[in-house]
């Protein structure tokens, strides 16, 4: 009997050790911050510890461009995934990519050397040092190079960085899905909080907090918020659920100390995130921005419990450069992410190139590389819109009498807003150039430039046109002197040209190429900017070329004096 009992106990222990631990999730408390019980849940909404992976994307350091299709590393074999959102990186979502269910099979990679635990749970905590050691190792980086088809030596030469995002394989509402932290937040927005209400401890806590930055990089900030509490969708999208492997120094932090840099006389948008409680028409929240002695009141701010709303004010900067301090206060139950915002107002005018002289020389000129500044051509934000959910209940006042009474409540739904900047530029020889042919001209003559910009958006009241275009020139190595283009169109579709040149005989909108410019491509570079959205400024790099062949001297000819 004693022997039978011993065998039974051993079998029970073996089964306990071998069977996977399944964590049912339903509402708050199903997963704590890695040290408590898993709570209870339903069979429609659950996650099992270890059902995880890491999305890996190679990014070019100079301009944050995604250069490989992301791949997902995991120890699991999630062949039962029913829905996922494709191999899309956080950077692509940041750039405006919308969350879309994929029609392709979910693909994953199992490295022979196992990936360390990524997402903490009641059955064990992830160790960030183990994660760093694994992903920074020669072995793992070689596997990343193998599966992405990226040359290993190029991958680690310092020109590229690797973006990591935790992935969870969970069952939500009976559907087996694969999501990154960023995708979970976007999906929750799509569901007006439906994911958070069922899977908060995973989707809004342990998954996004599995990885975050300690040093700002690739345009994402270091996370200084709570490391144990569930995060809002806005915080997850902006700051959580990412790690970055680098092979050179991190991008230098912005030391300007300014939250915004604006140009003078420009329509701009200044934003803060407001959260706290639920804001609805019965519990209104109002934000006040005090800017340069003027107070702007922003009304109709709504958001659900545990979430937030981006709140913005649209104003015109003063005509003189200065530093402005913007004070933000919020009434009602909400609070602003920032109480004070510092804006630097700068003036880009007054840097036009000097008067060109016919005997200018620059024998040591070498063609500089065309600049490639970080650009942001699209932005996504959203507005929580409330609607009244009526709930009519009959109250009796007698045997055959009574009345209907509305015991309804406010619901909020997420409306996604987007803005996308498109633009082109054309540089051509000036029409007064006597010997130009199409795009070929002799040095010393002028060029004309047109920039055409357009902004498409579904919330035009929250987006300005691109208002500033600055053109830099190779003869100044794209520095020192520039031309602030003149806006010749209005609305969200705008055009820019050179201002009239005071050195031009015919008062043309022109820029004179230096007479010493060697034959070859002559490429002015334009930075288009000041297209403001609640999610910051949209900007774009633009360049076009003319071909220099010969110089202005060759159009002068020598002839005998007529007798």
């Amino acid at each position: 009997m004693k022997r039978t009992l011993s065998i039974f106990i051993v079998l029970v222990l073996l089964l306990t050790a071998l069977l996977p631990l399944t964590a049912y999730a339903e509402g708050e408390g199903n997963i704590d911050n890695g040290s408590g019980s898993m709570g209870s849940g339903t069979s429609e909404n659950f996650w099992s510890p270890g059902d995880e992976g890491v999305r890996i994307t190679v990014v070019r350091a100079s301009d944050h461009a995604v250069v490989t299709i992301p791949v997902d590393f995991t120890n699991k074999h999630p062949d039962n995934i029913q829905a996922h959102f494709g191999k899309v990186s956080k950077i692509s979502y940041t750039n405006g990519f919308s969350l879309t269910p994929s029609m392709q099979q979910y693909t994953y990679v199992n490295p022979a050397q196992a990936v360390p635990r990524i997402i903490s749970s009641g059955s064990g905590n992830a160790n960030i040092d183990d994660i760093k050691r694994y992903f920074c190792s020669e072995y793992t980086l070689m596997r990343i190079a193998d599966v992405t088809g990226f040359n290993y030596d190029t991958l680690i030469n310092g020109d590229y960085k690797i973006l990591l995002e935790p992935v969870a394989y969970m069952t939500f509402q009976g559907v087996r899905i694969a999501v990154t932290a960023n995708e979970a937040a976007l999906y929750d927005q799509q569901l007006d909080g439906g994911l958070r209400s069922k899977m908060v401890s995973l989707s809004h806590k342990n998954l996004p907090l599995a990885m975050f930055l300690e040093t700002p990089d690739l345009g994402y900030p270091a996370w200084s918020g709570s490391r144990t509490a569930a995060a809002s969708n806005a915080d997850i999208i902006s700051s959580l659920g990412l790690g970055i492997i680098r092979f050179s120094e991190a991008e230098p932090p912005q030391v300007s100390g300014y939250d915004y840099t604006y140009r003078v006389n420009t329509q701009v948008i200044t934003s803060v995130t407001v959260s706290g409680g639920q804001a609805d028409p019965d519990h209104p929240v109002t934000a006040r921005f005090t800017i340069g002695g003027q107070t702007y009141t922003v009304n109709n701010i709504y958001y659900p419990e545990s979430d937030s709303q981006l709140v913005w004010v649209r104003w015109t900067t003063p005509s003189t450069p200065q530093t402005m301090t913007i004070h933000v206060s919020v009434t009602g139950r909400g609070r602003a992410s920032q109480g004070t915002i510092t804006a630097n107002i700068v003036d880009l005018s007054g840097h036009e190139p000097p008067n060109p002289v016919a005997d200018d020389r620059n024998d040591s000129y070498t063609q500089p590389a065309v600049p490639n500044n970080p650009q942001k051509t699209s932005a996504t934000w959203g507005v929580w819109r409330p609607w009244w959910h009526a709930y009519w209940v009959w109250h009796s006042t007698g045997e055959d009498s009574g009345y209907w009474c509305d015991h309804g409540w406010w619901e909020v739904e997420w409306n996604t807003c987007t803005a996308s900047l498109s633009a082109s530029t054309s540089v051509v020889p000036d029409a007064k150039n006597p010997t130009a042919s199409a795009k070929t001209m002799k040095s010393g003559y002028g060029i004309n430039q047109t920039v055409t910009a357009n902004v498409s958006t579904n919330q035009s009241s929250a987006v300005t046109a691109a208002q500033t275009a600055v053109t830099y020139f190779p003869e100044f190595r794209y520095q020192s002197y520039w031309r602030l283009l003149e806006r010749t169109g209005g609305g969200l579709g705008t055009q820019f040209e050179f201002a009239r040149n005071r050195y031009s005989t015919y008062n043309r909108r022109t820029h004179f190429t230096p007479i010493w410019m060697p034959d070859g491509s002559y490429t002015p570079y334009t930075y288009l900017m000041d297209c403001w959205t609640p999610q910051g400024m949209l900007s774009m790099n633009l360049a076009d070329s003319v071909t220099i062949s010969g110089n202005l001297w060759s159009d002068w000819h020598i002839a005998p004096v007529k007798p």
Binding site: H77, Q173, N355, C405
Partner: protein, 163 residues
Amino acid sequence: MALVIAISSQFKTETPPDGGNAPASIATVEVNPSADIGGKAGEKEVVVPASEPTAAPADNTAPQTDQPVQNLQPEVTKPPEPTESQKTDPTRKPSGEKVDNVQATDHNNVQKPDATQTGEPKGGERKDGKVYLPGFGWVTETGGSGTKVDGDGNINKQVGTMD
């Protein structure tokens, strides 16, 4: 500033080499009078007024730039109160929904119902190779497939950094 000086120092005002070889005594210089080669300093700039907007806004809300009161979105209000006859008709809710057997509830014992039964398919329901994904509807049921990888490289050799 150093860069400005450095670049400026590259510009020298020397005579082009060709110029020194010109037989000046027998030459006249003909220049196309319409060519624009610069050199007219000091003329007043002509200001061209911006034209009217060319693109219509994508929504109906006008920009509120510089207005002291700015609304994030249009005002939201509750639906209007039903009429007295609508409120006392036990056969039909004020919303118009027909009621066969009205059940009275005490005003103080009203409980918020569970998630509204909308008649939508249940999450995870399958039909024609698709699965019902809440928030997106019927989507392709993708399944998954993996690849095992292994190869060279030292797992203990640190190449990159993370912080």
